[in-house]
């Protein structure tokens, strides 16, 4: 009889497929009096009946995320004969890879003579010696092959007059181990490389026998009894609210980063760190989350990205005096210094009062000195972006830019093969059945700072590496034990609890609070007091999750619910980021602290002529900071713990590539 009371309190019931038809609303009003209210669209304060359909699937391999890394992994797995499922909360071509502009680095040597070992050196230096050199060796050596493979499957690279792939200059790249000047190593497709790459990969993926589960939100990982093996994933079909449990011995996480933890970022609204949070809830630790890259040129206000390729083609940054200030901060590389160096330089200029605009709070990027034909041919996308979001004509006016959150160097820790690792008693232990690739992973090739155009390379190289590792260690069609019948209960309980949430703060308000806190307390320049304050504020915000209020009680396309799940994921990421940042008492790469402005390595590398290593005593790992942070946040209590793991300093093969010893990082 509660049904009748609910009808009387409801004026009109709108169906999910409403076309504004009166017939529909009338017929629904009639039907609700007779059937159970499983598709309730409005809260009436009562708990909704929760009897979800659970569909079990079995696959040889499951890939979570259909961006560059996910599609490349799926392509590799399908060609190896594995029955593969790809789960994505977005349509594949809407993944954030599509927004990447710059290009892919590879030592093809089309412009000048090039060597992949120089690329490897540049990447190690760019990472501020926090990158694992075996993974960097692997990536730099595989790069030319990966790019040629992309070209062979139809990616429409820009071409030189000879017909070879055009390579442009990009930040942080040099020839001859830094001695040979600016390198032109970035293979590009005008300034829409990510778009071309994702569409090429998607087109390729349709040829193979992969099952796509599009608009399925992956909720959690299934682990075995002692948390040493991943045995599957549970996902919710957004279209009809059914839950799907995927049983698989090989799961690849390729879910991207969590830019949306900050107020101003270049990321899409869907970049919410789902993979990192799934790993946290599975009891795994994430690595190096405090390293958040601020891209120097995001449009002031809108946050949209203006690619580094502009500076590669000859554009430069100017302050209010019209001065090309990067010449002071990076005498050799100037505007093509590493991104963290440029972001810091811009922030210093603004703080010292030389910013432009009414509030003197941003910088200009000047392109109008370049040939308009070049701008039209090589940078059409940003010309349009600047026109739409900043209202400037790039051939006549400079673009207002500001450092904006762009990339997360941290993520789920993996080895160079793409297998997820954890640390036990000082040794790296592989988590069986779990792999990660792309921005969600931390291989770690980017270390403390990522060089531009290395991310798209990271996607294809490690997407392929995951597929190869799975193919080498498993056979298609292997049989394995079923999931326990109660698997996924916790996820369902969480879903149910959120659907019925009736607290006091809405998801949007809590999210804004978190974003503003992160933006104010964990930005380009960080210091002890602000980080501590931010940490305490984030603790409070994390607890406020229990008080969320959701208005939509339905199960079909309940965006309120989805955004709340994403907020839960973002909060786990944000907690680990700010705790890691507060604990790391040094400045390295993108993590710049005003109270600890120097790098704290195991030796003092700043003056090796006067103070060589042989004269110094090596500091134990507890006393220096050249180590990876491993962080874990308890999803229920919010308590965050940190531990550390050593950086891998040896390469895969010393005869093919020598490791790069640390030294001062100047551009």
């Amino acid at each position: 009889m509660s049904f009748l009371s609910r009808i009387s309190s409801r004026n009109l019931c709108r169906s999910a497929n409403s076309i504004g038809s009166n017939v529909l609303t009338r017929s629904l009003a009639v039907q609700t009096s007779q059937t159970r209210n499983t598709d309730a669209k409005h809260t009436t304060g009562n708990r909704v009946a929760s009897n979800y359909k659970i569909i079990d699937h079995t696959y040889d391999a499951v890939v979570v995320g259909a961006g560059g890394a996910g599609l490349r992994a799926a392509y590799g797995l399908s060609t190896a004969g594995f029955k593969t499922a790809v789960i994505s909360k977005l349509f594949p071509t809407r993944s954030h890879t599509v927004a990447a502009q710059g290009g892919i680095n590879a030592a093809l040597g089309n412009m000048e003579n090039d060597d992949w070992r120089w690329h490897m050196y540049d990447t190690v230096k760019g990472s501020d010696w926090l990158g694992d050199q075996d993974a960097i060796h692997y990536m730099a050596e595989e790069a030319p092959r990966a790019v040629v493979e992309l070209e062979n499957i139809g990616m429409p690279f820009s071409r030189t007059p000879d017909g070879k792939i055009l390579q442009r200059a990009f930040g942080g790249q040099s020839y001859d181990f830094g001695r040979g000047g600016q390198a032109r190593r970035c293979c590009c497709v005008a300034d829409r490389t990510g778009h071309a790459m994702l569409h090429t990969l998607y087109g390729q993926s349709l040829k193979y026998n992969t099952d796509y589960f599009i608009e399925y939100f992956a909720l959690d990982l299934f682990m075995n009894q002692d948390n040493t093996q991943c045995i599957g994933v549970i996902a919710m079909n957004l279209e009809d609210g059914s839950l799907h449990r995927f049983r698989s011995n090989n799961t690849v996480l390729a879910t991207g980063g969590y830019g949306r933890a900050y107020f101003s970022c270049t990321s899409a609204h869907t970049c919410t760190g789902d993979g990192n949070a799934m790993a946290t809830r599975a009891g795994l630790k994430n690595q190096d989350l405090e390293f958040v890259q601020f891209h120097p040129t995001g449009i002031y206000g809108a946050g949209c990205l203006i690619t580094e390729g502009c500076r590669g083609e000859g554009g430069f940054l100017i302050n209010s005096n019209g001065e090309r200030f990067m010449e002071r901060f990076a005498p050799v590389a100037k505007d093509l210094a590493s991104r963290d160096v440029v972001s810091r330089a811009m922030t210093i200029e603004i703080r010292e009062g030389r910013g432009v605009g009414k509030d003197k709070d941003h910088i200009y990027l000047q392109l109008h000195h370049l040939d308009p034909k070049l701008l039209h041919e090589r940078l059409p996308g940003i010309s349009e972006t600047a026109h739409i979001f900043a209202g400037v004509d790039v051939t006549k006016q400079p673009i207002p830019v500001l450092p904006t959150v762009h990339y997360n160097m941290g993520g789920v820790p993996t080895n160079y093969k793409g297998q997820v690792i954890q640390e036990k008693n000082g040794k790296d232990v592989v988590v069986k059945g779990l792999y990660a690739a792309g921005e969600a992973a931390c291989a770690s090739v980017h270390g403390a700072n990522r060089l531009g155009a290395n991310s798209l390379l990271d996607l294809v190289v490690f997407g392929r590496a995951c597929a190869n590792t799975i193919a080498s260690e498993n056979k298609p069609g292997e049989s394995f034990a079923e999931l326990p019948s109660k698997a996924g209960e916790a996820s369902i309980a969480n879903l149910d609890q959120l659907r019925n949430a009736n607290g006091s703060i809405s998801t949007a308000d809590l999210r804004l609070k978190m974003q503003k806190t992160m933006q104010n307390h964990a930005a380009v320049f960080r210091d002890g007091t602000t980080l501590k304050e931010g940490r305490d504020l984030m603790d409070g915000i994390f607890q406020e999750q229990k008080d969320l209020k959701l208005k939509d009680r339905g199960i079909i396309w309940n965006t309120d619910l989805i955004e709340t799940l994403e907020l839960q994921n973002l909060l786990l990421n944000a907690m680990q980021t700010i705790y890691g940042a507060e604990a790391r008492k040094e400045s390295r790469g993108a993590h710049a602290r005003e109270d600890y402005p120097n790098r704290a390595d195991e030796y003092d590398y700043t003056n090796l002529d006067k103070n060589p290593i042989t004269n110094q005593k090596k500091k134990p790992i507890e006393e220096h900071w050249r180590k990876h942070t491993l962080s874990y946040t308890d999803p229920d209590t919010g308590k965050t713990t940190l531990s550390y793991r050593a950086v891998i300093d040896h390469t895969l093969d010393e005869s093919r590539c020598k490791p790069v010893p640390p030294k001062p990082r100047v551009y």
Partner: protein
């Protein structure tokens, strides 16, 4: 009586038959599909035409999902929470 069945009725019956056929491969589908079809059995096309068509569409798309190569079984979550 086969004469006089409208297209709508035939579509619903064909969909039911498809579900029953599929339930041989997917464990647990038979009972769930039967319960769900029974739940909407009383709907009259005169009053609820558009809703019935929506349910048909939904049923067809869920059938397509269940026909996927990896599907093994279907069940209901064990805790129905009522008011």
């Amino acid at each position: 009586m086969t004469v006089g069945r409208s297209k709508l009725v035939r579509d619903v019956l064909h969909l039911y038959a498809d579900y029953m056929r599929l339930s041989r491969q997917v464990q647990g589908l038979r009972d769930i599909a039967r319960t769900e079809f029974k739940q909407y059995k009383h709907l009259k096309p005169k009053d609820n035409l558009i809703y019935i068509e929506y349910l048909l569409r939904r049923g067809k798309s869920q059938l397509a999902t269940l026909q996927g190569q990896g599907v093994k079984s279907i069940s209901l979550s064990s805790k129905p929470r009522e008011q």
